[in-house]
Amino acid sequence: MVKEIEKAGFPVVQMANLVPVATTVGANKIVPTISIPYPLGDPSTSKEEQWKLRYHRVGVALDALATDIEEQTVFNVKF
């Protein structure tokens, strides 16, 4: 899906846990998530911690959408 969306000209960022899958599939902008069943919020942590992580990584995704890149890029997250 991410390739079709980008072919249509939309800037798109994929948030995924299995970065090797995203790179293989061919997404150009990738932001890692923490797991498959809970990509952006570990239920075993507090609501505050989950929010902090989610807010931060979505922010990185927005940065990615605004960033010019030359090649497939996995964007770094702080936490």
Binding site: F10, A16, Y38, G59, L62
Partner: protein, 349 residues
């Protein structure tokens, strides 16, 4: 007797070289150029017509060329269609691919071509068109023609067709399961392969690693503060009653749901996941872990982004074929365009 039609370019029709590459499409009754060799090689069909078109005409006025040729064919009876051989000629290879694909889609007949392995037409069209490996130049004309004719004869005779390796055409990236009770079990095949690998001897993997396709990078968002962002997900987040009955695996359906009034996706019965490939507990309790609407709303409120699309777009990734995923994305794109979305965050599980 079954009927075949052949497509060739202006050069092989004897009309001219580069100077005549703009030659408009035409159809002639009977055999022109390579059609003679093809007709001679085919046992189960006669070549009734030859279609000729300039490589540049097809290259720069493709839709027009294809429509014209479809018109020529509309009142003809034919059971099989050939194009080329195109050898290493790139524009000719492209033309053969384009016309074969169109004929297959419009008329549903088998389409066959031949190209040298370096012809870009191979990678572009091998999935839709059976293409046989061909020589570098016209010196290989007889040989290449014999190959496509032989395969064509098999199809026309209704014979059982082998796989790509057995028949000899380019691997298309279409893999199917084959049950063979005479084959060695996997344990023995693995053992044999390992012994060969360890001793440096040759072995053949049963799963050749395909090359990965890259899509050109889309231009980044310039004005984030006024940008409209949308969520697309393959994590299967849907309203609790799954109104579009999206499948839990091998999905062919998708949905778009109005979130314009929502600050976040409510769990525990309002939204949930139907994706069968992962443990649903966390996403059911808090769907924002999969589609982070709450976080994006915060950025919207702060003015970091202009707005969020009125809807989010969802389907299920597990087992879903690439072809279905591409189709669903194309359908979503219609709405994303209508909604004037500037950028997309796609979450997957």
């Amino acid at each position: 007797m079954k009927k075949a039609i052949l497509y060739i370019n202006q050069f092989f029709a004897g009309i001219g070289g580069e100077d005549k590459a703009d030659h408009a499409p035409e159809i002639r009754e009977g055999l022109v150029g390579p059609a003679m060799a093809l007709d001679g090689a085919l046992k189960n069909a006669v070549v009734t017509h030859t279609i000729i078109c300039g490589d540049n005409f097809m290259g720069s006025r493709e839709d027009e060329a294809v429509e014209k040729i479809m018109e020529f064919l509309s009142d003809k009876e034919f059971d099989i269609f050939f194009a080329g051989p195109a050898f290493q000629a790139g524009r000719y290879g492209n033309a053969c691919g384009v016309i074969c694909k169109a004929v297959k889609e419009r008329f549903g007949v088998p389409v066959i071509s031949s190209m040298h392995e370096e012809n870009p037409g191979v990678d572009m069209f091998k999935k839709e068109v059976v293409i046989f490996p061909g020589g570098k130049s016209a010196a290989a004309m007889r040989k290449d023609t014999k190959k496509v004719a032989a395969y064509g004869d098999k199809i026309l005779a209704g014979e059982k067709l082998g796989n790509a390796q057995e028949e000899g055409y380019y691997i298309r990236g279409i893999r199917h399961q084959v049950i063979d009770k005479t084959m060695e079990p996997a344990s023995k095949r693995a053992m044999a392969m390992l012994l060969n690998k360890l001793s440096g001897q040759e072995y053949t993997t049963e799963l050749p690693i395909p090359k990965v396709e890259r899509v050109p990078i889309a231009a980044p968002i310039k004005e984030m503060a006024s940008a409209k962002i949308a969520f697309v997900t393959s994590g299967g987040i849907v309203p609790a009653d799954n109104p579009d009955r999206i499948q839990s695996a091998s999905a062919t359906r998708w949905g778009m749901y109005d979130i314009s009034a929502e600050a976040r996706l409510e769990g525990n019965g309002v939204y949930k996941t139907i994706h069968a490939g992962y443990d649903p507990a966390a996403a059911d309790a808090d769907p924002n872990v999969c589609v982070p609407l709450d976080a994006l709303r915060a950025y919207e409120k702060e003015g970091r982004i202009g707005s969020i699309d009125s809807h989010f777009y969802t389907t299920v990734g597990t087992g879903t074929t690439e072809a279905e995923a591409a189709r669903m994305a194309q359908e979503m794109i219609v709405h994303l365009k209508e909604h004037n979305v500037d950028g997309i965050i796609l979450t997957s599980t």
